[in-house]
Amino acid sequence: MTRLHIDWTACDGRGLCAELLPELLAEDDWGYPMARDGSPSPTVPPALEPNAQRAVDRCPALALHLTREAERPSAPTR
């Protein structure tokens, strides 16, 4: 399963990705991307992978990453 991971330390919140990937992302109160499914790292359906890849490539802050399940942080941390 592919997920869209957002590096919040890098994201500058101009909302470009929400424009490029409206199926998955909306903008929050401050312009930061917010997953429509409410999860921190939304699942990317196969049909949307090319669009998601485009958002990853165009993010000016290099804040977006597509991750496969194995890389995904499970939650050992609090």
């Binding site: 330390t9 929050d28 401050w30 050992p76």
Partner: protein
């Protein structure tokens, strides 16, 4: 906060006055096996099994970095400082056990006052040298990726979690977790399990504060009734309105003396034992005002890196301050709920999640107070 309370229910293991004899030498699989059989979980707040993180470090194929985390950034907590003062050797023993098992070339002790440990370290003949690293005085400085950054010589701020730290060869364990491991290595997993509950074995260090006669650090098995902890800290100084369990990232629970302090018993309140902080709120103090104060502190402690945390936490804190100070509007509770969802899971670390958890629990635990404040008065202080 570093006094060690005396009371009949106190179970002294980490805080026992006795010496412990030599530390056995264990290989990696023995350490992993012992920690797993004992059911040893992290005492720094996450409650995650030590053996799984250690195993991930061992199989990562990366040069291991083993760090004892004694930052204790939480202002309400004093148990790590107490442990490091009374039993530094147990912490250092646990650190050596893991560093040796992982074949690390150096181990790290991350504490606020490193100079205090030079003499202790000098008195030991540790096979693996220990490097002292200063933990800055900031709430997030003890978060594991901030710890790893500080040890690597960068600022102690949390990093993105695309890769899990143990998979990169770095193991960060709370100092209390390491001290338990040092006892397990000597006395066995079965002995460890004779305290606590079947699902949550062992003892933990609790820092009891607020409206108690003798605030301080108490050791008890998981599942200890809340009332026993309060008694061990000298008993309440006033009838209690509620208790904050798990510290500033914790949750409010009823001041029920029979309530067991365990993950299982606390989960209906959205609480966990966390790092063992228990703070008693007296009747006559306003839980909303206290929560607003903590929320303001936590918003200030955001590491300033992640948009939803930087913007959302101050917004949450001012919304709560408005409620506490009767600058309320009918939509305020819904706004709090929306904001807690907006920040949760949306930062490099779990600081926003913990802050949101605390605030959500206050809105539930003090729901009658919320209604009263919305109508311009306070049930606890009878103001304005």
């Amino acid at each position: 906060m570093t006094s060690v309370a005396e009371a009949p229910t106190v179970q002294r293991r980490l805080l026992a006055q006795t010496g412990h004899g030599p530390l056995p030498t264990l290989d990696a699989s023995q350490v992993v096996g012992l920690a797993r059989d004992a059911g040893l979980t992290g005492r720094g707040g996450s409650g995650f099994p030590l053996w799984r993180k250690l195993n991930a470090v061992l199989v990562s194929g990366r040069p291991p970095t083993i760090i004892a985390n004694g930052a204790e950034g939480e202002p309400a907590s004093g148990k790590d400082k107490a442990l490091l003062t009374y039993q530094p050797h147990l912490v250092l023993d646990g650190l050596q056990l893991i560093a040796r098992a992982a074949r690390a070339s150096t181990a790290y002790l991350y504490v606020a006052q490193p100079a205090a440990f030079r003499a202790v370290l000098g008195s030991r003949r540790d096979p693996i040298p220990v490097t002292l690293v200063t933990a800055p005085d900031a709430f997030v400085a003890g978060e594991e990726s901030a710890v790893a950054a500080a040890v690597a010589g960068r600022g102690a701020v949390p990093a993105d979690k695309r890769f899990r730290l143990p998979d990169t060869g770095t193991l960060v364990q709370n100092v209390e977790t390491l001290a338990h491991l040092a006892l397990i290595a000597r006395y066995g997993a079965g002995w460890f399990r004779t305290a606590g509950t079947y699902d949550e074995p062992g003892t933990f260090l609790a820092t009891i504060g607020g409206a108690v006669a003798a605030p301080g650090v108490v050791e008890a098995g998981y599942g200890v009734p809340l009332g026993d902890l309060i008694t061990a800290a000298g008993g309440p100084t006033a009838p209690l309105a509620a208790v904050l369990v798990g510290g500033y990232h914790g949750a409010w629970v009823p001041a029920d003396p029979a309530l067991p302090i365990s993950r299982e018993a606390l989960s209906p309140y959205g609480a966990t034992p966390g790092a063992g902080v228990v703070t008693a709120l007296p009747l006559g103090a306003c839980g909303l005002a206290e929560t607003a104060r903590i929320a303001g502190y936590l918003a200030d402690q955001s590491a300033g890196q992640c948009g939803p945390c930087v913007n959302g936490l101050p917004r949450l804190a001012t919304t709560l301050a408005d409620l506490a100070a009767f600058r309320a509007r009918p939509t305020l509770p819904a706004e709090v709920t929306r904001l807690t969802h907006l920040v949760t899971g949306r930062g490099a670390c779990r600081h926003p999640d913990g802050t949101a958890r605390l605030i959500a629990s206050a809105m539930r635990a003090f729901s009658a107070d919320v209604t009263a404040h919305l109508n311009g008065h306070c049930l606890a202080t009878h103001t304005p």
